[in-house]
């Protein structure tokens, strides 16, 4: 938490995305799922099983994140990421993430479903 307080706003937002992706990498799908916006879950992943299937198919086992661009609209952040397979087995994915920070380490995420 103190680390977050010492970060700039942009650094915090990137940290939140990294946290989400690290949960995926560690196969901790429940924690990752709990970070998602409720309406987003209703629209795309009504159950955690659906989300887990999607994440397993899409994301590589070991993730390298390349931040291409970050925009803000008020309190909403839109990040354009390249998700690279460190092992080279899966193709690089370009994906948009939406982050909304409520407080330190309290945030909501959604992403472009591809």
């Amino acid at each position: 938490m103190n680390d977050l307080k010492n970060m700039t706003e942009k650094e915090r937002i990137k940290t939140y995305v990294s946290k989400y992706l690290s949960y995926i990498e560690n196969l901790d799908y429940e924690k990752a799922y709990n970070l998602l916006d409720d309406n987003f879950k209703q629209n795309y992943f009504k159950t955690i099983e659906e989300f887990e299937t999607y994440a397993k198919n899409l994301y590589p086992d070991i993730i390298i994140v390349e931040y291409e661009e970050m925009q803000r609209q008020g309190k909403y952040f839109i990040l354009y990421l390249n998700i690279v397979d460190a092992l080279g087995e899966k193709e690089t994915i370009t994906q948009k993430f939406i982050v909304y920070e409520l407080d330190y380490n309290d945030f909501i995420i959604s992403f472009e479903v591809i």
Binding site: Y44, G74, Y76, I78, Y100, D103, S110, E112
Partner: protein, 318 residues
């Protein structure tokens, strides 16, 4: 000597016992408070570069008063929620009377406006633009609920910009939308001679423009031409302190007053609400009294068959 010193110390403590005790208690309290503050984890607000309350349209502008920020944001949220829920009556009730009369005389008009913007669940961001007296102008950016969609299927975020104004009235906070600010009655802006009487009746202020309602009475037996769309638009101009603005009206809009008739018409000029230059008057560069139509122009572009041709200015400031 040592005995004397000890005696003096003893007498000192005995004489000032109460003061010493109070002093020690104060020191103890200060110490405890200091320890508490050192270890207590205050809930700091996350730092951000987003400053919605800072007016961005002027370099040094009047800030929104602290006691009004919460009511303003509450009203914006209430209005927005009502629009999202298609509770047209509730949203309509939050508007100023001027805004209703000028933009949405009927609830149906407002419903059409809302439906055009709220074609699905929307979210918004706000940014203060400019503040003056009891009016606080904000920019809303309205877009789909991107947390709900993740921008799936969209290359980038599309949004609609709306300018709204919060009015701190005697009956509480109200708002006006679609760039509308207010209507003002204009007194003392009159020109009259033997041929014509022209009055500026009122001004509709919007964030990007000023629209004047003007009434002209042609006293003569000739046609009075105020605006000819085939000629330069500087026939009618808005006079500011430092510059002049030409009228914006529809390019095919002639202004012709028949003999002994009165016509009311609108003149629109570009003028941003945050501009400090004051509108001083409206200048009619060519009041042309024509014997008959069509008008025939000579090589220099001067209308022939014209009885009289002169300019007048109606001043709005004393």
């Amino acid at each position: 000597m040592l005995l004397d010193l000890r005696l003096k110390i003893y007498q000192f403590f005995k004489k000032n016992k109460n003061k010493i005790i109070i002093f020690l208690i104060i020191i103890g309290i200060i110490y405890l408070v200091n320890q508490y503050l050192k270890h207590y984890d205050f809930q700091a607000i996350p730092s951000t570069t987003y400053n919605p309350d800072t007016p961005i349209m002027v370099t040094e502008g009047e800030e929104v008063p602290s006691n009004l920020k919460e009511p303003i944001y509450a009203l914006i949220e209430e209005y927005f929620d009502a629009c999202n829920e298609k509770d047209y009556e509730k949203a309509y009730s939050l508007l100023t009377e001027d805004c209703k009369q000028d933009l949405f005389p009927e609830l149906d008009d407002f419903q059409t406006y809302v439906d055009q913007i709220f074609n699905g669940e929307k979210v918004y961001t706000v940014q203060n633009y400019y503040n003056e007296e009891d009016k606080y102008v904000y920019r809303l950016r309205i877009f789909e609920d991107i947390l709900a969609t993740g921008l799936t299927g969209e290359d980038e975020l599309g949004y609609r910009t709306e300018v709204i104004t919060m009015h701190n009235t005697g009956e509480g906070m109200k708002l006006s939308v679609n760039g509308y600010i207010e209507r003002q009655e204009i007194d003392l802006a009159i020109y009259e001679d033997d041929n014509v009487r022209i009055t500026i009746e009122s001004l509709k202020k919007e964030y990007e423009k000023e629209t004047y309602t003007v009434k002209a009475y042609n006293k003569t037996e000739y046609q009075l031409l105020l605006m000819d769309h085939t000629m330069n638009r500087d026939q009618i101009t808005l006079q500011l302190n430092a510059e002049v603005r030409v009228v914006k009206n529809n390019v095919n809009n002639d202004i012709i007053i028949s003999p002994s008739e009165t016509e009311e018409f609108e003149l629109e000029f570009t003028k941003y609400y945050h501009e400090t230059d004051i509108s001083r008057g409206i200048h009619f560069n060519a009041l042309r009294f024509i014997k008959s139509f069509p008008i025939v122009y000579d090589e220099e572009g001067n209308p022939q068959n014209t009885i009289e041709n002169y300019a007048v200015t109606l001043n709005m400031q004393e």
